[in-house]
């Protein structure tokens, strides 16, 4: 047997957990890509796009929970504010969809930087409370601000033309756009988890005091992962606004924050792919039988 490790150890002692992407993960990624590439020919594209948006949202959230060890109870703030900004950019400014998603994600990133730098000073339940408090602030701003449309939200959001050229008004065309965004987001999340940065995150999650004693500035790492998570939650929200052509208060409501917690927990927070399953199950349940999920009124198509 040949020896591929860098340690020059015999094969028997080769790392049980190699640094390279395990074949199983590659297979799962390939399976997901194949499924979502073929699925719109058999299932409703709008339903699938909704699933994909929430898959990205759940994975972004779980990056923070499962790998940063931080339970945010305010992720609706990022999802929802990006949704509003994206809808506003498309409808009022007539921007092309890729710019709408970029602006939504950017807004979520900035908001994440502000909320994150205040929240990471707290631990555990206090962290969750701070994030919830800020999310409620964002909710009330959304309710009162002139450009959000109050109770009505921003309706009839146009999808416009991708790069100013490709018309996305057909669901299939939009599907391609959402597909690319969501999988790029998922790949980025996977990368973050399996990067040198992600390795330090795991160490912090496992033993924060020890990480400090090794010289890591844990708050900076926590803030960085908070911002990445918020940004991608924003990407999901901004994309969702274009899919449903709607940004509304349900996007920033605390129930949305609760729902994403549920998706992550249902799928398994310490797994890379678990939240994908959790998101798919919950979105499917809501779609088949909205009444069966009473607490989860948000995001019904």
């Amino acid at each position: 047997m040949s020896d591929h490790t860098m340690t020059g150890r015999p094969a028997a002692q080769r790392a049980t957990r190699p640094l390279a992407i395990p074949p199983l993960h590659l297979a799962i990624f390939a399976g997901l890509l194949a499924f979502f590439a073929v699925a719109p020919f058999f299932l409703y594209p709008v339903f699938l796009m909704k699933v994909m948006c929430f898959v990205l949202f759940a994975c972004a959230f779980n990056l923070l929970l499962g790998y940063g060890g931080l339970l945010s109870f305010g992720h609706a703030a990022f999802f929802g504010s990006a949704s509003y900004v994206s809808a506003h950019a498309a409808k009022v400014w007539g921007l092309s969809p890729e710019l709408c998603v970029l602006m939504g994600s950017g807004t979520a990133a900035l908001l994440g930087l502000v909320i994150g730098s205040l929240a990471i000073r707290r631990q555990g339940i206090y962290f969750a409370m701070v994030t919830l408090a800020f999310a409620q602030m964002v909710y009330f701003i959304s309710l009162q601000a002139p450009f959000t449309g109050g109770e009505d939200g921003i309706q009839a959001v146009p999808r416009n033309r991708l790069f100013g050229i490709i018309n996305l008004s057909s669901d299939m065309a939009l599907y391609g756009f959402v597909f690319v965004i969501v999988f790029a987001g998922l790949f980025l999340i996977y990368r973050v988890i399996h990067s040198p940065f992600g390795q330090v995150l795991k160490a912090i999650r496992e033993n924060e005091a020890r990480s400090v004693s090794l010289g890591y500035q844990v708050n900076r790492y926590k803030l960085a992962v908070f911002v990445i998570s918020a940004t991608l939650a924003g990407t999901a929200g901004a994309t969702k606004a274009l899919v449903f052509q709607l940004a509304s208060l349900t996007d920033v409501h605390w129930a949305m924050s609760g729902e994403v917690v549920l998706m992550a927990l249902l799928g398994g927070m310490h797994t890379v792919f678990g939240p994908i399953v959790g998101a798919a199950i919950i979105v499917t349940m809501q779609t088949i039988s909205p009444a069966s999920a009473p607490g989860l009124q948000c995001c019904r198509a």
Binding site: L19, R191, S195, Q199, E206, S213, R220
Partner: protein
């Protein structure tokens, strides 16, 4: 003793918890290159001293200097980056990471304060050989790919030392590195501490007095937050106040 002989120096170090003086006006000088033991009955304030020296706690009053630099207001991770690394009384490993991965987390710090979340972790492969050497140094090579939580208590302590050593710190603070270890492990870790002390300074809390007698150049005895006696083992062990403190409060 001239100033440059001292690597670590605390003056009037005090820590008060809600009116209770856990550490009371302690002066502590640690000579460069020495093995210095901090002993004393349970609750004497040894761990609190460690927390103060490494800035895991902020002293109520007093100053601390490391390598001639006032570190009283620095943060804990900064202290580690200056070259003073501590271990913990309760073994501090990363439970779900493998032994190799534990050590690699320490080695990885050499990449600087790096937030490269877009890079594949395969770049960490460059540290594998060295991590393995550190693991072999403490005799854990057969467990290199086990997760830390699977290890026995003694082996967790050994892993902790390997991880600390991987940073090649100028000064190590070891809080009861041998507590709860089997005799064979005590001997191995004791030999390890001796071998790594070359070119380094070690401050350790230890209850095993034969280990203390064997390893340390200087012993500081702490009781009720105050320094009771200081000197070599011969001097300290004959000090009536030390004997009284130990008998009075009991070993722990």
């Amino acid at each position: 003793m001239t100033g440059s002989d001292l690597i670590l120096s605390a003056k009037g170090m005090t820590k008060q918890f809600a009116g209770f003086m856990a550490v009371n006006n302690v002066d502590l000088d640690v000579r460069r290159g020495s093995i210095h033991a901090l002993i004393g009955p349970n609750g004497a304030g040894k761990t609190t001293c460690f927390n103060l020296l490494t800035k895991f706690l902020q002293p109520t009053s007093g100053t601390i200097s490391f390598n001639g630099r006032d570190i009283t207001t620095l943060g804990a991770s900064e202290i580690a980056r200056l070259g003073m690394v501590r271990s913990f009384q309760i073994s501090a490993v990363f439970p779900k990471l493998t032994v190799i991965e534990n050590v690699r987390v320490a080695l990885q710090r050499r990449r600087g304060t790096n937030f490269d979340f877009w890079r594949a972790q395969t770049v960490l492969g460059e540290f594998d050989a060295e991590a393995m050497r550190r693991v072999e140094e403490v005799g854990l090579e057969d467990f290199a790919h086990h997760t830390a939580q699977e290890l026995s208590y003694g082996r967790k302590r050994a892993l902790e030392i390997a991880t600390t050593l991987a940073l090649e710190p100028e000064m190590l603070l070891l809080d009861e590195p041998m507590a709860g270890m089997a005799q064979a492990d005590v001997e191995r870790i004791s030999a390890l501490i001796k071998s790594i002390s070359a070119g380094r300074t070690i401050l350790m809390v230890e209850h095993n007095l034969s280990v203390v007698a064997d390893l340390s150049d200087t012993i500081t005895v702490l009781a009720r937050g105050q320094v009771l006696a200081e000197g070599g083992y011969e001097t300290v062990s004959k000090d009536p106040r030390v004997i009284e403190a130990y008998i009075g409060v009991g070993h722990g």
